[in-house]
């Protein structure tokens, strides 16, 4: 480890912007970005599963609120949602005196809530489309076996719907990674926040932002290849026959 650090220090010698300290900022920013994106995607995914089933419910009082939620969160900019939740929480009278303030004081939680709700809305629509495109024959077969609605959902519809949703969900993950850059607007030191800090400190926009852009590009490609690998594994039966 020490050898590595020494090597890095030698490599950076004579470089006034990319010192160990600024690289540290970028490193912390990367961790924050990954944490934020990963947590919001995970919670959003968990929320989206029941929502996507409810989105197709026959009862209007279940279906319509979910439709409205998706419509609003997909139709307005994430930045507006972030501002709404961030300022909405901060300006509640007396909140600063309660225990809640300990959690909400940092902008991380409001940002996480905004991102989670946003991705939940998009993911719900993705799953909804996948559930709707389940072949009719599979549903009839499940009914003919005497499966209940729940059992059919669990064993037949959801597993194949998840597979079909995979390519679209991969896009959503990349979209979320890119959208997370706006966390820096509410003073979170994510990757973009680190780049803004380095820019402001050294007045070197090209170095500061190109470096961040390169890291984002690598992350994007990593996600892309991960989903390609998953698709290759999980959707192998849908591949067109070769030879």
């Amino acid at each position: 480890m020490d050898a590595l650090m020494n090597g890095l220090e030698q490599l950076l010698a004579g470089n006034s912007i990319f010192t160990l300290q600024t690289l540290g900022y970028y490193g912390e920013g990367l961790v924050t970005t990954v944490q934020l994106v990963f947590l919001s995607l995970l919670i959003g995914l968990v929320l989206a599963i029941p929502l996507s089933i409810g989105r197709g419910a026959k009862r209007a009082w279940i279906r319509l609120p979910i439709f409205f939620f998706c419509y609003v969160f997909r139709g307005t900019p994430l930045l507006v949602q972030l501002y709404l939740i961030y300022y909405g929480v901060v300006f509640v009278d007396g909140i600063q005196d309660t225990w809640l303030w300990l959690i909400l004081e940092k902008p991380f939680v409001p940002a996480l809530v905004a991102f989670t709700l946003n991705t939940a809305a998009y993911t719900t629509e993705i799953f909804r489309g996948a559930i709707k495109s389940t072949p009719k024959g599979e549903i009839e077969a499940a009914r003919a076996y005497g499966m209940s609605q729940r059992l059919m959902m669990r064993r037949i519809v959801m597993p194949s719907a998840f597979r079909r949703a995979l390519p679209a969900y991969g896009n959503e993950v990349i979209f979320m990674l890119h959208a997370s850059a706006i966390a820096s607007v509410v003073t979170i030191m994510d990757l973009t926040g680190a780049a803004r800090f380095v820019y402001a400190r050294f007045y070197a926009p090209f170095d500061a932002f190109f470096f961040a852009a390169a890291i984002y590009l690598c992350l994007t490609f990593a996600i892309l290849y991960f989903f390609r690998y998953l698709e290759k594994k999980l959707l192998a039966h849908l591949k067109p026959a070769t030879g």
């Binding site: 709404l84 300022y87 850059a181 706006i182 820096s184 803004r196 932002f209 984002y216 590009l217």
Partner: protein
């Protein structure tokens, strides 16, 4: 009645800025998208590479980072060029990038990449027999493009185009971060000053939904226009 604390007129101005920004960037994006699609479909190896590089990089980097890069970096870049012009040729010009221009350029540049993909797919979907027929009539290359390829391509491109437009519209909110007084920035300032974030942010959200609904209606009409002759097939 909702009390806007006198921010009403400024919000309205902000909404106009948002719409202007969105429409101008859409025009730039369509132009760049057509160029990119042509480059990616061209036989030239170099043009193909450049087109692919452009779409890959733009689609791999967050909008906000690109916007800051172009806004903060663009001024320095332009100053470097004008300084060089002054040193070399004694030409004294001063170009100032304002937030609006930077916003239009970045959003146009970002969505040009997305449009390029949409247009490329749509161009490939045009029946080559139609183009041959046009040539057989003795039309020039540009006339074939104007009268045959473009209208036929638009039919396939419109769903993707309308999708890109909706995303573009929401992306315009980001210019508030680099300092342009669009709807979102006015609402954010008002929220901070009056401590009533819900009033302002919900109004802004509703305006976005309204613009989206109106443009959805517009795209449906356009689709009907470009579907002429295909309507029965569906």
């Amino acid at each position: 009645m909702i009390d806007l604390h006198g921010y009403g007129p400024r919000l309205l101005e902000g909404a106009l800025v948002t719409i202007e920004l969105a429409v101008l960037s859409l025009i730039l994006a369509i132009f760049l998208g057509l160029l990119t699609a042509s480059a990616k479909m061209s036989r030239s190896w170099l043009l193909h590479r450049v087109g692919t590089l452009y779409t890959t990089i733009i689609r791999g980097v967050p909008d906000l980072v690109l916007m800051m890069l172009l806004f903060f970096g663009g001024q320095i870049g332009i100053n470097m060029i004008t300084d060089w012009l002054y040193d070399q040729f004694n030409i004294d010009i001063f170009i100032n990038i304002n937030e609006f221009v930077a916003g239009v350029f970045t959003i146009g540049l970002i969505f040009g990449a997305y449009m390029g993909e949409t247009f490329r797919g749509a161009f490939l979907a045009v029946d080559s027999g139609q183009i041959e027929a046009g040539r057989a009539y003795g039309m020039t290359q540009s006339l074939v493009f104007r009268r045959i390829r473009f209208p036929l391509m638009m039919r396939h491109a419109l769903p993707g185009l309308s999708n890109n437009w909706m995303v573009l519209l929401k992306t315009t909110a980001l210019v508030s971060v680099i300092g342009l007084s669009d709807m979102v920035r006015v609402a954010a300032e008002a929220s901070k000053a009056t401590r009533e974030p819900f009033t302002f942010m919900i109004i802004v959200g509703i305006v976005y939904l309204l613009i989206a609904s109106v443009s959805e209606w517009g795209f449906a009409r356009l689709q009907k226009h470009y579907d002429t002759g295909h309507a029965e097939a569906n």
